[in-house]
């Protein structure tokens, strides 16, 4: 355990700091932004698509190709759909006196 922590101490610091940042960012968000923020966060975790691209890019077997291809489509859906939907939701904040 100690060993594990020590060999991964950097990553642990990173993860803890990221959690802090994530929490801090949200803490004082006005309730009107709950839904758009959720939607925006949703698009961001679409970063999982990078995993899909890697699989797809390295695919050799049919199995990996098909799954990879599907993953890429799904990931893209998440990313593109997510950002576009968020943008639409936020359209109403456009007007500002």
């Amino acid at each position: 355990m100690l060993e594990f922590i020590n060999s991964n101490i950097q990553i642990i610091y990173l993860v803890i700091l990221m959690i802090f940042v994530g929490v801090e960012l949200i803490e004082k968000v006005p309730s009107v932004l709950h839904t758009p923020l959720m939607s925006g966060a949703n698009a961001i975790h679409g970063v999982v698509i990078i995993g899909a691209i890697i699989i797809m890019g390295q695919a050799e077997s049919m199995f990996a190709t098909i799954l990879g291809f599907i993953s890429v489509i799904l990931g893209t859906l998440n990313v593109v759909g997510g950002f576009v939907v968020t943008d639409r939701m936020l359209e109403m904040f456009k007007k500002k006196k």
């Binding site: 999982v48 995993g51 890697i54 797809m56 893209t76």
Partner: protein, 467 residues
């Protein structure tokens, strides 16, 4: 060299995510924040495609094919969806992300079994893969169920002992996973698929019993799940941008879920397991008359008001009962300062005595110019963005015009239903002086903001100031 540049690109992507998320949490910058995050994502994706070591150029076709298909489908569905169906859409997209994480785990598992002998699989890797699989699957299936519920395709179904089944199932999944990782039995592959199947099942059972009204909270929770699943990918590939994106969303999403619960004045546990029999909450907003009532919270009302050009306040007896005239005036002044035109529509019989509203509003120093008589304000409703009905009922009841059997038939009323949005502030669905139901409350343009008028107006003022 490529790898080095890619690292830098990932750094840019990570920082974009942080900045984007930060900007998303403020109304003024939210829209730009979304773009910043999208920019970071684009950079990360194309960086990976072109610079990642091991991507075969022969697979570019597949990659771009997938990207193009996904982009087209995603853009189209996101553009077509109606404003009111946004949450469903978010849920669906979230499910896609979960599915993606799940599939990655599946593929990486085959890679793992390919590269190592069963029983010798590196525990760390396996742990990460299994976690990605479990969380991804739950998120995927759960999101689909949530989407189905919101769009009315799936109803609330609950087994009597649902919660116990659920907890048991979760323990079972985790047990098998632990066993597989620790012991590394020869049937590892089988166990992998068993775990997958059970996770899918759990995803269904987890979301099924939760009431429709609580879906946004559940979606937010599943959203943070997907974030964690993405982070697993980050560990797997030692990929910082996946890690940052995933963990940010994981932690931010979790907190957001809690914040949303708090805004609804409920605890997360209460949302997740308190709702046996499901929809208890959702149903209460369906009236005896069968109509469906749309509720709104002070936050959303605040945004509607602040970004409106013209607001008309319709005070009624409830304003007097709540003694909310002072804070009502404060709201009016605040909106005027924001550049919103505000008027009061005074119905001749609002309240319980002639001139009741006049007395109240004069007490709180509302300028006489702002009080408009019924005949003069009625033509104006068509150009009004938001009508705020504060504790009035009979004086805005369309039955007076439409229902000859109604005791108020023939009484002239305020034609608030011509406005673009109608927000009705009252404590319950109870009737007013005349004792009759009000169809206005069930109209699609109407939203109910329940609560004592004084308290709700105070919250509204605070929300608008916070914007």
């Amino acid at each position: 060299m490529n790898t080095e540049i890619l690292q830098l690109i990932y750094l840019v992507g990570s920082v974009s995510f942080m900045i984007g998320l930060k900007m998303l949490s403020k109304p003024d910058t939210a829209r730009k924040g979304n773009l910043v995050a999208a920019f970071g994502m684009t950079v990360a994706i194309f960086g990976t495609i072109f610079l990642y070591e091991g991507i075969k150029v022969s697979n570019y076709g597949w990659i771009f094919g997938g990207l193009i298909i996904g982009s087209i489908l995603g853009t189209l569905s996101a553009k077509k969806v109606k404003m009111t169906q946004m949450p469903e859409m978010v849920s669906l997209f979230n499910g896609m992300g979960g599915a993606c994480a799940m599939l990655i785990s599946a593929v990486e598992f085959t890679h793992l079994t390919h590269n190592y002998a069963i029983g010798d699989l590196p525990k760390g890797h396996l742990l990460i893969i299994l976690l990605g699989l479990i969380i991804g699957s739950i998120s995927f299936v759960g999101s689909l169920v949530a989407w189905g519920k919101l769009s009315g395709r799936v109803g609330d179904k609950t087994l009597k002992i649902q919660q116990i089944v659920n907890i048991g199932l979760l323990l079972l999944i985790l047990g098998i996973a632990c066993y597989t990782i620790m012991v590394g039995p020869p049937e590892t592959t089988t166990y992998f698929y068993v775990i997958w199947g059970l996770s899918v099942l759990y995803g269904i059972l987890f979301v099924m019993p939760i009431g429709g009204a609580d879906m946004p909270v559940v979606i937010s929770l599943l959203n943070s799940f997907t974030g964690v699943a993405a982070a697993m990918g980050g560990f797997l590939y030692d990929n910082k941008v996946m890690l940052v994106g995933g963990i940010l969303v994981g932690s931010a999403g979790t907190l957001l879920t809690l914040v949303m619960c708090k805004a609804m004045n409920r605890s997360l546990t209460n949302v997740l397991i308190g709702n046996f029999g499901g929809g208890g909450n959702g149903e209460s907003s369906t009236s005896e008359s069968g109509g469906h009532v749309r509720e709104i919270n002070p936050g959303d009302t605040a945004i509607l008001l602040k970004y409106a050009n013209k607001v008309v306040i319709v005070p009624g007896y409830g304003l007097a009962v709540a003694q909310a005239q002072h804070v009502c005036h404060e709201l009016e002044e605040l909106l005027e300062k924001e550049g919103v035109g505000v008027k009061y529509a005074i119905h001749p019989v609002a309240g319980r005595m002639p001139g009741h509203m006049n007395v109240l509003l004069a007490e709180s120093n509302v300028s006489y110019d702002k009080l408009v008589e019924m005949e003069n304000i009625n033509p104006e409703f068509a150009t009004t963005d938001v009508v705020l009905v504060v504790g009035a009922n009979d004086v805005v009841n369309p039955a007076a015009k439409t229902d000859p059997n109604s005791p108020i038939y023939g009484m002239p009323i305020l034609d608030v239903e011509n406005a673009k949005n109608i927000i009705v502030m009252k404590r319950s669905m109870k009737a007013g002086y005349a004792g009759i139901e009000n169809e206005l409350f069930y109209q699609p343009k109407t939203s109910m903001l329940f609560g004592d008028a004084k308290g709700t107006l105070t919250k509204l003022v605070a929300e608008i100031k916070a914007l």
